[in-house]
Amino acid sequence: MTFSQDTVLEVKDLRKHFPIRRGLFRSFSRRYDQQYIKAVDGVSFSIRAGETLGLAGESGSGKTTTGKLIVHLLEATSGMIRFQGRESLRLKGGELKQFRRQVQMIFQDPYTSQNSRFTVFKWVQEPLIIHGLGDSQWRKGQVMETLEKTGLKPAIQYLHEFPHQLSGGQRQRLAIARALVLQPRCLVADEPTSMLDVSLRAGLIKLIKSLTVELELATIYISHDLSVMRYLCDRIAIMYLGKIMEIGPTERILKKPLHPYSRALISAVPIPNPHTGRQRTQIPGEPSLLDQGIRGCRFQPRCPLSETRCREEPPEMVERKNGRMVACWNA
C-alpha cells in the first residue's frame, strides 16, 4: 500500500493481544505459560478522505477493538497506525491531545454514553473547552453550527434540552455533533444505528454519509449488519477472529464474495421478500478463540471448502483486480 495524497489513515499489521489472567499462585508456577486472546491479530487497511470503510464481522471478530485502537482508547500491542502521514501510536502529551481532537468515535448506545445532567449545549461544548479552543461566544457559534449540521435544527431549540428529552434518533445526532464539533478528520462509528428504529435508521445513515462527503472525513463504520453497510460504505473489510479475510468495494463484495466466510456472512442476512427462498448459511457453530492457535487458516474449522493445505498453512492476503484483496487458498 502506498501512501497517496488523500489517504488520511493507514493501519498496518495492527495487533492487540489481551493477556488471559490466571490465579495468583499459578502465575508463580515455573511452568506458567502466559496465554493471550488475540482480539486484533494483524490488521491492515487504509482509508481516504471522504470515504467510508465498513468493518464487518460476527461478535468477537475484533472489529470494535480495531476501532478503539485507532482512537487510542486501547493501546496497541504492535503494528503501525499512520494518521495524516504521521505515526500515531507513539504520540505523547500535547501531540496526543492534538491527535485525539482529529480522530473521534461515536458509540452504539446513545442512552448510556451521554451525561444525563448535561444540557445539549454543555455536552457539545465540552470538547472545545477540554481542548481550550476559542472564547465563549465563538464556542457557542461553533456548537450551534454543528448541531444544525447534524440535523438538530433550529439549534436554539435544542440548546437547553437534556438528553432524556430527546428521542433515540436525536440522541445519536447529538453524539455525532459532539464528535464533529472539534472538526475531526477521521470518525469511527461503532454500530450507531443498531439501537434505532427502522424509520429513523435511514435518516442517520444518510446523515453520516453526507457528512463524510461534505466534511471530507475518513469514516470507519463498524457493524455486523451488511444491509446497512451497503447504503453507507464505499468499501467493506470482512473480519474473522482478529484478521481481515476480504476487503474491497462494497457492491463487488456483496455481489460476488470471494472468501467463503464473506459468502456465509452475506447469506445469513434475511431478505424481506417472501419469494426469494434464500439459501440459509451453511456455516456451523460460532467462532472459537481456540481456532486462532491453529497452524493453518483460522476459519478452516468452520469452512465448507477446507482442504489439507488450509490446515497446514495460513493464507496470505492476495491482491485481486478491482481493488480487492482476499486471504483464502480457494478464492
Partner: protein, 338 residues
C-alpha cells in the same frame, strides 16, 4: 375452524403520574393452528404490551380495560392466576429478548429446565433429564452440555437453551419477543432455522414480535403492523410485500435496507410517533403521512377490508396503488417534513 388464539379489540392502559396512557387500543388478530403471526412496529408501539397482556405479565400499573382474549376457545384475559399458571409453559410459552440473561447463574442449565418441566408436569427426574437431552439435540446443542452453567455458554447458545426450555412441554403456542435481536447475523440465521424446523415437527404456532421486517418475512405467514397502540394494517406476508395498503407500511418497507436486487434509495419517515398522553383526533399517523388530506385530521380512519383477510386503517386504502408508486420516491417523504 376455531382459531388457537383470538385477540379481540383488546385495550390496555397504563396508569402514570401524568394520566392514563392507552398503550394498546382495540387490537385484534387471531392465530390458527399451525400459523406464525408477526406483530411488528417501532419501539413504543405497544407490541410487547400485547404479548404481556396475553401472558398475564403486565406491570402493576397496567390493566386490560376492554376486549377479550380467547385461547383454544377459553377466555384467558380474565382468568384467575392459578388457572392461567396451568396453561403457562404447557400450552403457551415464551422466548423473550433478554431471556438469555434470565438464566440462574448458580444452577446448571439442565437443572433449570428440569425444574421448569417438573413445576408443570408430573415427571420423574430421570425422565425429565432425558427429555432435556433430547431438547438440546433439537436446538443443536451437544447433549452433554446439560451439566454446564450459564456462564460457560455464549450468548447464542444461551438463547438456544431458552428455546429448548420454552419447547420443553410441547406448547401449542410460542410467544417470541425479538428472539434474535441481541445476536449477530450468523447466529440469528442458525437459530431461526432451528425454530422453524422444530415448529414444523411439533406443529405449534408462534406469535413473533419484532421490528425486523426481513426476519418476520422469512418466518411468519401473517403480519400485523402496529403504530401508537393501534393496528394499522393486517394481512398475509405476501400481501404486505406486494400490496401494502397503509402509507406507514409502505414507509417501513422503503426504509428497510436489503441486500436484494439493486441498491434502492432508502427513505426515512419524518417526525415521531404521537404522544399517547394527548387526545388525538383523526388518524394517528397523519402528521408523518405524505398523503394526508383534511379528512385525516377530522375523522379517525375505519378498518377497510381491501381484500379478504387484508385490513388497512386508512381512509384511502382503496387508492393505495397510486400511493405505492409515490412512496418509493425519496421526495415524497421529504416534502412532508415542512
Amino acid at each position: 375452524m376455531e382459531p388457537l388464539l383470538d385477540v379481540y379489540k383488546i385495550k390496555i392502559d397504563y396508569k402514570t403520574e401524568r394520566g392514563l396512557v392507552r398503550a394498546v387500543d382495540e387490537v385484534s388478530f387471531s392465530i390458527r393452528s399451525p400459523q406464525n403471526l408477526a406483530l411488528v412496529g417501532e419501539s413504543g408501539c405497544g407490541k410487547t404490551t400485547v404479548a404481556k397482556g396475553i401472558l398475564h405479565l403486565l406491570a402493576d400499573n397496567a390493566s386490560i380495560s376492554g376486549g377479550r382474549i380467547t385461547f383454544q376457545g377459553q377466555r384467558i384475559d380474565n382468568m384467575r392466576e392459578r388457572d392461567f399458571d396451568r396453561l403457562r409453559w404447557c400450552q403457551i410459552s415464551v422466548i423473550s429478548q433478554s431471556a438469555m440473561n434470565a438464566l440462574n447463574p448458580v444452577y446448571t442449565v439442565g437443572d433449570q429446565i428440569v425444574e421448569a418441566i417438573q413445576a408443570h408436569e408430573r415427571m420423574g427426574k430421570r425422565e425429565a433429564h432425558s427429555r432435556v437431552r433430547e431438547l438440546f439435540q433439537w436446538v443443536g446443542l451437544p447433549p452433554e452440555r446439560v451439566r454446564a452453567y450459564p456462564h460457560e455458554f455464549s450468548g447464542g447458545m444461551k438463547q438456544r437453551v431458552i428455546i429448548a426450555m420454552s419447547l420443553a412441554l410441547r406448547p401449542s403456542l410460542i410467544i417470541a419477543d425479538e428472539p434474535t435481536t441481541a445476536l449477530d447475523v450468523i447466529m440469528q440465521d442458525q437459530i431461526l432455522e432451528k425454530i422453524v424446523n422444530i415448529q414444523r415437527q411439533s406443529v405449534s404456532s408462534m406469535l413473533m414480535i419484532s421490528h425486523d421486517i426481513s426476519v418476520v418475512t422469512e418466518v411468519c405467514q401473517h403480519i400485523v403492523v402496529m403504530y401508537a397502540g393501534k393496528v394499522l394494517e393486517s394481512c398475509s406476508i405476501e400481501e404486505f410485500y406486494e400490496h401494502p395498503c397503509h402509507p406507514y407500511s409502505m414507509g417501513l418497507q422503503m426504509a428497510f435496507p436489503t441486500l436484494e436486487g439493486e441498491a434502492k434509495r432508502l427513505i426515512s419517515i419524518p417526525g415521531f410517533p404521537p404522544n399517547l398522553l394527548e387526545e388525538i383526533s383523526g388518524c394517528l399517523f397523519r402528521d408523518r403521512c405524505p398523503f394526508q388530506r383534511p379528512i385525516c385530521e377530522q375523522i379517525a380512519p375505519p378498518d377497510v377490508e381491501v381484500s379478504p383477510g387484508h385490513i388497512a386503517k386508512c381512509h384511502f386504502a382503496h387508492q393505495a396503488d397510486g400511493f405505492r408508486l409515490l412512496s418509493a420516491r425519496e421526495e415524497t417523504w421529504e416534502a412532508n417534513v415542512a
